[in-house]
Symmetry: C2
Subunit: 228 residues, 2 copies
Amino acid sequence: MKIAVLGTGMVGQAHAAKLSELKHDVTVGTNDVDKALARTEPGRMTEAFGVWAKQHPAVKVATFAEAAKDAQLVIEAISADAVIDVLSAIKDQLDGKVLVDITNPLDFSQGTPPRLTVSNDDSMGETVQRTLPQTKVVKAFNTVNARIQVDPKSLGSGDHHLFMAGNDQAAKDETVKIAKAYGWQNILDLGDIKSARGLEMVFPLWAEIYAKLGSAVFNYKIVSQEGI
Amino acid sequence: MKIAVLGTGMVGQAHAAKLSELKHDVTVGTNDVDKALARTEPGRMTEAFGVWAKQHPAVKVATFAEAAKDAQLVIEAISADAVIDVLSAIKDQLDGKVLVDITNPLDFSQGTPPRLTVSNDDSMGETVQRTLPQTKVVKAFNTVNARIQVDPKSLGSGDHHLFMAGNDQAAKDETVKIAKAYGWQNILDLGDIKSARGLEMVFPLWAEIYAKLGSAVFNYKIVSQEGI
């Protein structure tokens, strides 16, 4: 499948590498291709994109608009401060498509752990859906770190949960297919895009557990009587 | 131990019954004793307190102030709209004591699922601690339903997590003792009272999973490489 991965950070790199490994035709979208490919200094938790791109020659790199234009499915992993501007600008290229929104609404301006820019009465997932009314937005993957997102079996044999939310059932089915190809066994559809609130508001607990463990390699398993 | 349980709802009833069963000297605190004991209509998810009190003759019932005055430890399970007023009024009776705050900051005024009255930059746990600067406040138990709070082994052999947060280590150690007596095996201390934010902001996810399962009998197990 032709898949666009919007964003060159840790999450974008993880999905692009995995989807390419799964033989999808992957294009990473970014703001300025030359500038992204010229990056050789790694980020806080990210490989320098210029270095990463050389290690993944099968993955194409294009502008956000070019990447989205021909894609059949879009994975969106843009930082919270930029995502709405970027999506508004390429709105036409996203009409009618499935867009998997992974962005957590994090504001690092007051230090770490970050606060949420939106919570309680709204969410990033809902904001993305409002920005792109003709796009089928699915919130997913945002509750775990990038490595577990694309390789859930690397932790506890994969016996933990992925959550998703979105208004369009076919779009969620498509996202489930991708998630299963990544190795996810336990996938919980929590309803329409409003449920992105719960998926995003669990971030502070994630950050507290991360601080406690000193590791981002963990996830939640829902233990229930029903054994879901 | 002399323990006060503040609140006559589902959570107060569960802790008072269990602590009494564990041979503690338990007094339930309420606003108006006669009025509470006269209640024979069950609540949405709660036994009528008048009926419950008759079924638990070893548990005393007193005003909030009387219950707190002689207590060595206080379990606070008052509804979000009343808790700060009640605690302010009995501040002197709580000085120097351990108070376990279970209240989730839920606002049902706009329907269900409730929104949070405080989140992101503050929490109910921090508000309670600011209200009672001489009290050792521990946020705990609020991430699971009342039955699991006091009987964790009734779900998945108890293989799931309890979280707590608070500024005073001795108070948290005391709370761990109570939790272990209830049957908790996996207890995660997430730091000072500021970490109440994560414990409270996970509520929307809880509500979404509750809606999905049609059951409140579930909890999170943290799956990690460290096996905490």
